[in-house]
Symmetry: C6
């Protein structure tokens, strides 16, 4: 399966932690699609990783992606209940 925007072409993950990692990857892959040049992205990364406002905005994007992933996984309800 050849995908560029969602690893494994699925929103389903084993755990919330995995869902969170997926949210970060999905957010990054949109930026990669919009700016495919690796060297430009590297330069931009050096900017945003030292910019408080941009880091907070990245947090906003990840939170939004994660809300979709969490809903897709029914908030990992059965896993949580098995642990309880």
């Amino acid at each position: 399966m050849n995908t560029s925007l969602i690893p494994n072409n699925s929103l389903i993950t084993a755990t919330p932690e995995d869902g969170r990692q997926l949210a970060i990857k999905m957010a990054r892959l949109v930026i990669k699609t919009t700016q495919p040049d690796d060297s430009i992205r590297k330069t931009l990364r050096e900017i945003y990783e030292k910019d408080a406002a941009m880091l907070i905005q990245i947090g906003q994007v990840v939170a939004t992606e994660f809300s979709t992933i969490a809903a897709a996984n029914h908030y990992w309800a059965s896993a949580d209940r098995l642990d309880a």
Copy 2:
């Protein structure tokens, strides 16, 4: 069918990856509708594709569009389960 804002006039896609591509297209088509001049959009693209803050904001728009598309597709639940 003559559409300018949603390809195929449908939110339904075969896979999450396709849904993600649709989210990006839908985000771009709103900008195209608001600024229909191809040469101006080309100039603007040269700006935003090298601007970390704008790339992050594009990620936010795509995340929001995708949340709607994912809900429309019931998070591609049956496809995921068939693959599992």
Copy 3:
């Protein structure tokens, strides 16, 4: 029916494309209500239609309006299935 914020006073549309058009209109009508002077809005439009960051933010507003319209129309589910 005299309305100024939602054409036809309804969130129901025939297709996703129509829903998208409605989202753009609803976003514009809030701005028109907040700034009713046509000449000032024309001046502002000349600014935002050439500003990449503002165009992206317009995309964000439209995405948010559309998520509500899509839910109101049950994501146009039956129409999609009839076409499928």
Copy 4:
């Protein structure tokens, strides 16, 4: 009933247009609560009503408020169906 943040202390409205008006009022009343001085708000209004970026952000707030109001009213489904 003495309220300062939601007129009539209810999210229920007769029509989508009324719901949209309520969204705008709710957005304004939060600002009024945060900045209760009428003359300062008047000065601020003169700024934001001529600022394209701020008008777009107001559109974002109204869209978010409206999504809650629309859900509370089940998207005015029965009214729409009676008209259909």
Copy 5:
């Protein structure tokens, strides 16, 4: 019950107006937790209460908090219907 982020440790309120007040309090308590120094917050308040763009952003945060509170209270549906 010793809480610092949600008064009474509950999202349930008697009315929409109370839910709106809770949304404003919850938004403020996150800022208080991030910046616990009262005198610094007082200085910051003098800035944002006279800044149109920041007041609009506060409106956005309150709208987001309120959408969660409204869902938790089933949009105060029975109260609304008893009044009707």
Copy 6:
């Protein structure tokens, strides 16, 4: 269980207050993952904790994370009803 993005790898919390604390932690852990250098993050914190606009944006991220956590916990409905 070795996690870096969600403490205890679960969205389930005992109370709304705990859910709110989790939202703040989740928001911080995304920033930590994006900028893992402790001394840089300390410098950035000194900036954003004195910047009104950034504190408001942090409030927005926390509100978004919390909406997901609250849904995962069914808005802590049974706990609220036991207290009522």
